[in-house]
């Protein structure tokens, strides 16, 4: 799903993006928060105007590793756009992980969009060659990305030009 989203983003004019696989971020587990900030990850997020999170749902919640990684930054997130693509094996498209993740993102200072990506039956979404089997996801992802890019654009202007008071 992340590769599908990445391909869709890369088709958008004027947008540059990169994939972050959080499994590749070496973080200790005996501490948390900004004390264990990983400089390359922080730099990438710091340069970004928006984030698209592709999140698998486990037992109605988000992966602990994702929370561990997100907690390592703060200033890099403030007033930046974020959208979530929930992925589940069942039929609800990760709606429960999305709902559980929203308050975390809000506390980190991110601004959530009102479109979500909902990917149900993850094991049946793609064929053996990674080809998407249901083309409806293409149009849904396009709507999701239009909103994310709009929000990212507006918030960038706001961060740079609109003072708090």
């Amino acid at each position: 799903v992340a590769r599908f989203a990445l391909d869709a983003i890369r088709k958008k004019d004027g947008v540059t993006t990169e994939l972050i696989d959080i499994r590749e971020i070496p973080l200790p587990t005996d501490d948390a928060g900004e004390a264990i900030k990983h400089a390359p990850f922080a730099d990438t997020v710091g340069r970004a105007d928006g984030l698209l999170l592709v999140v698998p749902e486990y037992n109605h919640g988000y992966p602990g590793l994702l929370k561990h990684v997100l907690d390592t930054n703060l200033k890099e997130y403030i007033h930046k756009a974020v959208g979530i693509c929930g992925v589940s094996a069942g039929g609800f498209g990760g709606t429960r992980v999305i709902q559980n993740l929203l308050p975390v993102l809000r506390e980190l200072g991110l601004v959530t969009i009102f479109w979500d990506g909902n990917f149900s039956g993850a094991q049946k979404l793609f064929d053996a060659d990674g080809v998407l089997l249901d083309q409806a996801y293409v149009r849904r992802m396009d709507q999701f990305l239009k909103e994310l890019i709009w929000m990212a654009t507006v918030l960038r202007y706001g961060r740079e030009h609109v003072a708090l008071e």
Binding site: A35, R47, L74, K75, I78, E160, A163, E165
Partner: protein, 64 residues
């Protein structure tokens, strides 16, 4: 004139005047550095500034 207008942060990377666009309570910050302004919030109240020139983001403790 607000307090930020009188105390603009200068970008340490490019020298441009930064824009103060948010205040955020940082619950993970070391509270021994907390200002008087933070006492009301249960954490360190941080100003968030973004540079319109290079996009750099800086935080500093709110001055109250």
């Amino acid at each position: 004139m607000g307090r930020m207008a009188a105390n603009k942060m200068i970008c340490p990377k490019c020298g441009d005047e930064m824009n103060h666009h948010a205040d955020k309570v940082d619950y993970g910050a070391h509270l021994d550095a907390a200002s008087v302004a933070s006492a009301d919030f249960g954490g360190l109240l941080q100003e968030v500034h973004t540079c319109p020139g290079c996009g750099n983001v800086e935080m500093r403790a709110a001055s109250g």
